[in-house]
């Protein structure tokens, strides 16, 4: 579904991604871990071109999204993204946060979008917050809304960039729960996270990114049970 070839990203003299090749199949749940500054968030952000790669190519469903002629806005409609800091639109109510993109992009009428939003809000038990402002919600609620906002676009794949890192510990569970349900429904997911228990339980593949390359890739059992590279062994010994 997503193919990445020779992906490199420099920030000035700083070579953050130094050549990444990877393929994500439909329905897979990829969990990406690694030390901070390793490039894992940059990798995720390259997948929907929030970061413009320095070189390399990315395809979604056979369409090369790194081709300058590709309409990236059309591609992004198929790729939901959830951010560490939620990024709910501060000037809009929860309902408007969810319906803005589907309506303005002409994918749904206002009524359809509202209906869709309400059914999604029901799924995350936040129907009563439809008319609230983002500032009135807790972090966990904001992140669940952010997930709902992405899902309202009916994406083919969901990217999660450290979705629980900015949350108070007691709110991490409610967000992971929503993500687990999403995974069970068959959504294709790529998740950058420090939640190792989530990785073990949900991932179909775990990636260890360090120094801008995929240093190790395996099924969760092997990834956590018998890590090969010393770097990963060292990393896991610190985080587990």
């Amino acid at each position: 579904m997503i193919t990445v070839k020779e992906l490199k990203k420099d920030f000035g003299e700083n070579h953050v991604l130094r050549g990444i090749d990877y393929e994500i199949e439909k329905g897979e749940k990829i969990v990406i871990v690694g030390p901070s500054g390793s490039g894992k968030s940059t990798f995720l952000r390259c997948l929907n071109l929030l970061e413009q790669p320095t070189s390399g190519k990315i395809w979604l469903d056979g369409e090369e999204i790194t081709d300058p002629k590709t309409d990236i806005n059309k591609i992004r409609q198929k790729m939901g993204m959830v951010f560490q800091h939620f990024n709910l639109f501060a000037n809009l109510s929860i309902m408007d946060n969810i319906t803005l993109a589907p309506v303005r992009l002409g994918l749904m009428t206002k009524e359809e979008a509202k209906e869709k939003a309400l059914s999604l809000l029901k799924r995350v038990n936040l129907v009563d917050k439809a008319d609230a402002w983002p500032a009135q919600l807790s972090g966990g609620q904001k992140q669940r809304i952010a997930i709902v906002r992405s899902l309202a676009m009916n994406p083919e794949v969901m990217l999660f960039d450290e979705p629980t890192s900015a949350l108070d510990p007691e709110m991490v569970g409610e967000v992971l729960e929503v993500m687990k349900e999403l995974a069970e429904d068959g959504m294709t997911m790529a998740v950058v996270t420090h939640e190792m228990a989530f990785a073990k339980e949900v991932a179909t593949k775990c990636l260890f990114i360090d120094e801008g390359i995929i240093m190790e890739e395996n099924t969760p059992d092997a990834f956590f049970g018998s890590p090969q590279s010393p770097r990963l062994q060292d990393f896991l010994s610190k985080v587990l």
Binding site: Q77, N87, F89, N91, L92, L100, A101, A135
Partner: protein
């Protein structure tokens, strides 16, 4: 005492009542407000446009032509006195135009735009970049993201300094007397030269300016609170 009081009354009557002079002040105030309102609207429209031009960027980070144009515009306007801009507009650029209020409005609007541009640019920069990223990540275009997400928040940020700019603008229109437009200040000045008595007309005009600006401040304060409702916790 009684003599002093009747003197004050006579001066008041001479300044405001005789020959229905109060109508002159009212007309003058009308001219002042007409110029200020048109200029404020033009200033905000121009300012927003200039702010967006200044913030436009090429992918390699170099300045765009739009940025250069906006920079030059702002430099020229801020680098020259507004009286001079008004005189240039009046006697050179639009010397054949008979609508004095229009010429003055344009001149002040063009002037105000340069200042509003910097206010709005700061307002845009104060919006968390994550807001725009979230918009773009859903497939909204840069323009849609700006229009529905960033600019509304930028205007909210920018409202207090914009109110400041409006207030300055209202008072600055007093220089239209230079091109013999009968605004509030000029009317007061004319009356005082007619009655040989400066106190009543000048203080009167000052009080009128004060009241108008006070009312404006209250109204815009209400607007600001309304726009801040999304911050309620």
């Amino acid at each position: 005492m009684a003599e002093w009081w009747s003197g004050v009354q006579q001066k008041f009557i001479a300044a405001f009542i005789t020959g229905d002079r109060w109508q002159l002040y009212l007309k003058g105030l009308g001219t002042t407000l007409e110029i200020a309102v048109f200029a404020a609207i033009l200033g905000v429209v121009l300012g927003t446009l200039l702010a967006l031009m200044k913030l436009s960027k090429k992918q390699d980070g170099r300045k765009t032509a739009a940025t250069v144009v906006a920079d030059i515009y702002i430099d020229i306007i801020r680098g020259t006195p507004s009286v001079l801009q008004l005189l240039i507009m009046w006697f050179i650029i639009m010397k054949n135009c008979t609508n004095g209020v229009l010429v003055a409005s344009l001149s002040f609007g063009i002037n105000s735009g340069a200042y509003v541009a910097e206010i709005i640019r700061a307002g845009i920069l104060a919006v968390d970049p994550g807001q725009a990223e979230a918009g773009r990540s859903m497939g909204l275009s840069g323009k849609q993201t700006m229009q529905y997400i960033v600019l509304p928040q930028a205007f909210k940020n920018a409202l207090p300094p914009i109110v400041n700019e409006f207030i300055t603008l209202i008072k600055e229109t007093a220089i239209v007397g230079y091109v013999s437009l009968a605004d509030l200040t000029r009317v007061a000045n004319q009356v005082s030269s007619r009655t040989y008595e400066a106190f009543m007309p000048l203080i009167g005009a000052a009080v009128i300016y004060f009241i108008v600006i006070k009312i404006l401040t209250i109204l815009l304060g209400k607007l600001e609170r309304r726009m801040r409702r999304s911050d309620n916790r």
